[in-house]
C-alpha cells in the first residue's frame, strides 16, 4: 500500500501548465506527509499533491482531472478523524492549505469572508477585538481549517446553544468537478431554490471543492461562568443533564467525562478534576451578568438534587480556562496512558446514556481493551476512546470491532454512527448498519447529480450497495443484521 503508482504523464504535463513547479509534489518523500489524515491507521500515497493558490487554478485542476478521469481528494488541515482525506492511490490530493486569507470582516452584517485554509480559531482571533466570535469550536480548532469544517459539518463543545457548522455558515463558493464555480447560499435569511448549502455541508468532499466560505459571526456574551460537578454514579450525572435541559436551560456547553478520562486528563493538565469521581459534568453558562448568576443558581440546585458531590464554580477566567483545558486535551491525555487509542463518535438520545455506557463497559471486558469516555452530554455525542497497542498482533482489528459494536449500539438506541467526525473511509461498514438500500439509493443519486464519474473523493462516505450486501451476508452469518432486500453478489 505504500508505493506510489507511476504518475500519469499526461496529467503531470497538464498540471504543470496550471501550476508552478513548486506547487506540484510527486517525490515520494514529499507525498508522505499527505498519506493520511488524523486517522493514521490507514495510509495511501497519492500520484501527486497539488497546492493551488487561486480559484482559477482549482477550476483548471478539476477540469483536467475530470477530462482525464483522475480521482481528486480535497484536503484542508488534515486533522480529520475518519480518513476523509485519505488519498486515492490512483488520484491526486488537492490541498487548500495555501488559501489562508481572511478576505473581509463585515461588522454591520456580522459575517466574515474567508478562504478554506483559514484555521477555525484564527477567525475568532481576528474578530475578538470587535467583540465577536465564530461559534463552532471543534477541539482541534487551533489546527483545523474552515474548509474541512464545512466538509465535515464540525461541531464542538458549544454547539448545543450555538449550532453546528451548518448553522453558522451563510454562503460558499464551490468548484464542481467540471471546473464550474458557483455561489451556494447568501447573506440573507433564505435562498431561492433548494437548500444546497445544507446538502453540501458535511458532504465530505464528495460533491465539490469549497474555495471560499462566508461565516456568521456571533456577538460575544457579556459573561461566562463554568461549573464543575462530580458524581459517584454515572447515571446521576446523566439524569442531571436531562433535568437541566428540561428546566428550560440551554447551557453554552455541557460536557461529561468518566473516571478513566478524568484520571488521564488530570494527570496531563492538572485541571483540578476529582480523580475518584465516577463522572464529572462541566457546565458553561453565558449571557448577561444577571442572567448568568440566575442560571448558575438554578443549575447548582439541579445538580445537588441529582446527588452531585462538590459543585465547583470557577472564580477566575484562568480557572475557567483550566477546567476546559482538561476536557479539550482529553484525547492527547488518553494518548499518554495508552500506546494507541481509537476515537469513536456516536450520537445517542441522551436518555440512553447510562445504558450505553454500561454496554460499552461490557464490550470493554469482552474485548479485553480499556476505554475512556468523553461526552458532549448536552447534545448526545459520545466519544469513547478505545485503548489498544498497534504493536500487538490483532489489537487494532479488535479495537475496530469494538468500535463498530459501539456504533451499532448507537444506531439501535436511535442514534447515529457519527455526530461530527464524518464517515470518511473509517465508517463505511457502519453506514450499512444505519442505512438500507432505500437511503443508499438516494445518496448515490445525489452523488450522480454532482459528480457522475465519481471522481471526487471516490470510495468515501457512502458505501456501495455491493459492500453493504456482502457485509449483510457476513452479519447474517453472525446472526446479527441483514439486508434481505438486496441481491447477493
Amino acid at each position: 500500500m505504500n508505493t506510489a503508482t507511476t504518475p500519469n504523464p499526461a496529467l503531470l504535463q497538464q498540471l504543470k501548465d496550471i501550476l508552478p513547479e513548486e506547487a506540484i509534489l510527486t517525490a515520494k518523500e514529499d507525498l508522505h506527509p499527505y498519506e493520511c489524515d488524523g486517522l493514521t491507521a490507514y495510509r495511501h500515497l497519492p500520484l501527486a499533491v497539488v497546492l493551488p493558490t487561486t480559484t482559477e487554478q482549482v477550476q483548471l485542476i478539476l477540469k483536467t482531472c475530470s477530462r482525464l478521469k483522475v480521482p481528486v481528494v480535497a484536503r484542508g488541515a488534515g486533522t480529520g478523524l475518519s480518513g476523509g482525506a485519505l488519498p486515492h492511490e490512483g488520484g491526486i490530493v488537492l490541498s487548500l492549505a495555501r488559501f489562508k486569507q481572511i478576505l473581509e470582516i463585515d461588522t454591520a452584517n456580522l459575517h466574515a469572508r474567508v478562504q478554506p485554509g483559514v484555521r477555525n480559531l484564527a477567525i475568532s482571533q481576528a474578530v475578538d477585538h470587535l467583540g465577536l466570535f465564530y461559534a463552532p469550536d471543534p477541539s482541534s480548532q487551533i489546527a483545523c481549517s474552515i474548509g474541512g469544517n464545512v466538509a465535515e459539518n464540525s461541531g464542538g463543545v458549544h454547539c448545543l446553544k450555538y449550532g453546528l457548522t451548518v448553522h453558522n455558515i451563510l454562503e460558499i463558493q464551490l468548484v464542481t468537478i467540471d471546473g464550474e464555480l458557483m455561489t451556494i447560499g447568501n447573506d440573507r435569511q433564505d435562498t431561492p431554490g433548494y437548500d444546497l448549502l445544507a446538502l453540501l455541508t458535511g458532504s465530505e468532499g464528495m460533491l465539490g471543492v469549497v474555495v471560499e466560505v462566508l461565516v456568521r459571526l456571533t456577538v460575544k456574551p457579556d459573561t461566562v461562568q463554568v461549573l464543575m460537578a462530580d458524581f459517584a454514579a454515572v447515571n446521576d450525572a446523566g439524569d442531571a443533564v436531562a433535568a437541566i435541559i428540561s428546566k428550560g436551560i440551554i447551557p453554552a456547553g455541557l460536557e461529561m467525562m468518566d473516571n478513566p478520562a478524568i484520571r488521564a486528563a488530570e494527570d496531563f493538565i492538572h485541571a483540578g478534576y476529582p480523580i475518584d469521581a465516577n463522572a464529572i459534568l462541566l457546565c458553561e453558562l453565558d449571557g448577561t451578568e444577571d442572567e448568568v448568576s440566575e442560571q448558575v443558581a438554578r443549575v447548582s440546585a439541579i445538580l445537588k438534587n441529582h446527588r452531585a458531590g462538590t459543585i465547583h464554580i470557577a472564580k477566575t477566567a484562568a480557572e475557567r480556562a483550566r477546567l476546559w483545558a482538561g476536557r479539550k486535551a482529553a484525547f492527547p491525555a488518553v494518548g499518554r496512558i495508552s500506546p494507541d487509542y481509537y476515537c469513536m463518535d456516536g450520537t445517542i438520545p441522551r436518555k440512553h446514556l447510562a445504558h450505553v455506557l454500561n454496554k460499552i463497559n461490557d464490550y470493554s471486558q469482552q474485548y479485553g481493551l480499556g476505554v475512556a469516555n468523553v461526552f458532549h452530554a448536552g447534545d448526545g455525542n459520545l466519544h469513547p476512546l478505545i485503548l489498544y497497542d498497534a504493536n500487538r498482533t490483532g489489537e487494532l482489528e479488535k479495537a475496530e470491532r469494538f468500535g463498530a459494536d459501539i456504533l451499532e449500539l448507537c444506531v439501535k438506541v436511535g442514534g447515529s454512527i457519527t455526530g461530527e467526525h464524518g464517515v470518511g473511509h473509517e465508517k463505511l461498514d457502519s453506514m450499512c448498519v444505519q442505512f438500507g438500500e432505500a437511503e443508499l439509493e438516494v445518496f448515490h443519486a445525489v452523488k450522480r447529480a454532482f459528480d457522475p464519474d465519481e471522481l471526487l473523493n471516490p470510495g468515501k462516505a457512502v458505501p456501495t450497495l455491493h459492500r453493504c450486501a456482502e457485509l449483510g451476508a457476513m452479519h447474517v452469518h453472525h446472526g446479527q443484521l441483514s439486508h434481505p432486500e438486496l441481491p447477493r453478489f
Partner: protein, 357 residues
Amino acid sequence: MIADNDITSTLQEQVVAGIAANQPLTIIGGGSKAFYGNETQGTALHVSPHTGVMAYEPSELCITARAGTRLQDIEALLAANGQKLAFEPPCFSATSTIGGVVAAGLSGPARPWAGSVRDHVLGVKLITGYGKVASFGGQVMKNVAGYDISRLITGSMGTLGVILEVSLKVMPRPVTELTLALEMPSEEAFELTTTMRRSTFPLSATCYFDGCLYLRLSGVPSHVFASHRKIGGEAINNADEFWLALRNQTHEFFQQYDRPLWRLSFPPATNVISRLEGNSLVEWGGSQRWVYTNIPVNLIRNIAHKGDGHATVYRGSLPGVNPFHPLADNLRNVQQRLKQALDPHGIFNPGRMYKDW
C-alpha cells in the same frame, strides 16, 4: 388528542402507481399554503390523514411526528411542556400540517435570532422517487452520517419526495417576553436595528410598520427588563396577539388583495430602499420586506438584485412570472439534475418551484 393513524402503505402504493404510469402527483397536506408557488397538475396525494406523534420527550429537545399531524396540535403539546418551535412557522389555517411546514420551509418573526425551519430539522422519513420508504437524519442534534437529505428536503415544496415523518428540534419557551413600540422614521429604525445587531439585547423579533418600530425582547426577566430600561419606549399590551397576527398574516397589513404581495429578502444591514417604501412592512431586522406593488417584475427583481437580495411573488399570481426568484444558470442546472436524480420519473409536484422541473 392526536390520532395515531399510519397510512404509509396507502401513500406508498399511490406513489408506486404514479411511477408505473408516469402520472404526476400533487402532494397536499392541510392545503393552507396552496397559494404559494406555482400550481401543479397531478393526481392529489393527501397526506393529512397520516397523523400521530411518534416520540416526544421534552428533555431530548426533539419531537417526531407523522407529516399529517396538525401544526396547532403540535404547538399545543409543546406549549403544555414549556417548549416551542423556535422558528415560529406560520399557521395559515387550522388544517396546516407539520409536513407542510417542513416542505414549504417558511419561518416566522423569530427567524434571524432563533434560526429557520431547516436549522431545526433533525430528520425526515420519505417516500423516495424510487417508490421506497427511506429515513434520513434522526432524533439527535448531531448527525453527519450520509448527505443531509433532511435539510435539503426542507423548503423543497414537495418536489423531491413525500414527507412521511419529521423530527424537529424544540426549544424552551422564554420565561419573559416584552414588546416595545417606538415611533420613528424608517431611517432611524434602520440605524437602531443595525446597532442592536452588535449588542447582547435579547432581541427575538422586529417589525417596522406604519412609522413604528416594534421590538420583541425574550429571555430571563432581569435581562429583559434591564434592556427595556436601556432602549426606552412603551411596552405594548397584547404583544402575543401582535406577533401571532404577523406570523399567521392575519395582521391588517396582509388583508389587501388588489395587488400582488411581494416578499423581498436582503442581507441584514441593507439600508432603507425608497422605491420599496410606502405600502410595506419590514421584519427580521430588515432582512424580510413585504411590499404591495404594481412595479413591473423586472424592475422589482432588479431592485432586489442591486441590494444583493431576491424577490418572491408571495401571494397573487402574475401571468408568466415564476413566483420564485430566477436562479443563476449553473445553479439552475445543478438543481435540475438533483431533481432528476431524486425524482427520476418527475412525479412529485412538477413545476411547483420552477416551471422546468
